[in-house]
């Protein structure tokens, strides 16, 4: 019974702390979590991420050992993000641990979510939805820092997923973003990539506003594929150095 084998497969409690370390490391290294920003306390993190206190403590210990966060004791204490010198923290570069097949697979999954979301959105978006998405793309267009661009890009993709009116698609997009955003934050350091992405979004809005389903899906696929192309290119460039 293959279904039962999948359903009852071990959750891998031991790797949960690694997953948290990976996600927070990537967010810190890429600047999505800013230097000196205070992390939520252990209890809140456990609640937000749906894991036990012990798992959170373990993850925070690893982040501390990697000099990504520091902890201040006392009344105004807590865990704070350390200043990062990104170019030098090569051992922690997310591209070090991710293989090209992993990135390409992540891209395909993302493409599946976004292309069907776009198909539904092309049918289901009202004029007000189009206007809102246009505003989000304009924010992305005028953003100058990689972090601001990443946030704006995330908002655009989540908006498209939500415009599908499918709660499941929107949820999957949210889950993917927890991994995706830190990676694209590295891409958004490039002015050329930023420009290319904005152009694709602009075309996408135009096809969406004319409710052209098949053309919208094509552009959406191209958008995610462009991200995936540059992610793999970055991985190879990193490994060549």
């Amino acid at each position: 019974m293959i279904t039962h084998a999948v359903i009852f497969a071990p959750i891998g409690q031991a790797s949960r702390s690694d997953q948290i370390v990976q996600r927070l490391s990537n967010a810190i290294i890429t600047g999505l979590l800013e230097a000196n920003e205070q992390l939520p306390n252990e209890a809140d993190l456990a609640k937000m991420m749906g894991v036990s206190h012990i798992t959170i403590r373990e993850a925070l210990n690893t982040l501390r050992a990697n000099n990504l966060i520091h902890t201040v004791r006392g009344r105004n204490g807590g865990s704070f993000v350390c200043e990062q010198v990104w170019e030098f923290s090569n051992t922690l570069n997310p591209f070090k641990t991710l293989s090209t097949d992993y990135l390409s697979d992540l891209g395909e999954m993302h493409c599946a979510i976004i292309s069907h979301s776009t198909r539904l959105a092309a049918r289901r978006m009202t004029n007000a939805d189009i206007t809102r998405l246009r505003e989000f793309v304009e924010v992305l267009n005028s953003a100058t820092s990689p972090e601001a661009r990443t946030q704006a890009d995330m908002r655009c993709l989540l908006a498209i997923a939500a415009c599908s009116q499918s709660a499941r698609l929107a949820n999957q997009e949210l889950i993917l973003q927890s991994e995706w955003s830190s990676l694209v934050a590295i891409l958004f350091r490039s002015e050329n990539i930023h420009r290319e992405i904005v152009e694709l979004y602009t075309t996408l809005i135009n096809t969406l506003s004319s409710h052209n389903e098949s053309e919208s899906v094509n552009i959406a696929k191209k958008l995610i594929d462009t991200f995936t192309f540059y992610l793999i290119e970055n991985k190879l460039k990193y490994s060549a150095n």
Partner: protein, 231 residues
Amino acid sequence: MLLTTSLHALTQKIDSIINSTIESTGLLARNIETSLAEIEDVNLEHLLEPSVRKTIQDHIKATLNSNVYCSGAGFASHIEGSGSNKEFWLLEWWYKKADGVKQVNLDLDQATQQRLDFRTFEWFKQAPAVGNAFIHGPYVDYICNTSYTITSAVPVYFNQQFLGVAAIDLLVSRVEDELLPFAADNKVILTNKDSRIVFSTHPRFRVGDLLDISVAKIVFENDYFNLYQAK
């Protein structure tokens, strides 16, 4: 519009759900206003004090208890920083658990609330402009309950100043639960004013789709919804 008896019962149920939702939201907004007015020497920062938060929470919990349809209720406030006052965010949100008894606080810290930036949420933006109840949705709420939701929102004022929004969530699945027994054998489609389908007894016309009104005949409408029959 001449309604058959069975459709008449359905439209009454639609009205009753929407009216009770709007009434509860308005009551929550007024109760919060009244409680704030009773605090002496009130300063907006008082909103973050435990005793004031507790009062607001009690109003929210009372709303959840008294309204059978609603799945979540809350109060959202954003005050711009001025002079020595820091800008601050308040999202007090409670929801009923799936088993229908427990109430849980979303409980977000200031930093998370700031990053959420609920000023961009339609129900937060539109409610003050409308003045009374604003009904948003159906829409995918991936922030609070990750479900297909309708939100009713009413602005809260203090000293004629806009302070925030009281809001109530109604799950689309709950609306269906309530309406199905009244639909009988009728092939009906309920939409919001944007033609977005909220409820349908026709498998071709699905919740979330925009209804092509050329294929349906309108049989009833109120301020928020239209009811159609498939042609």
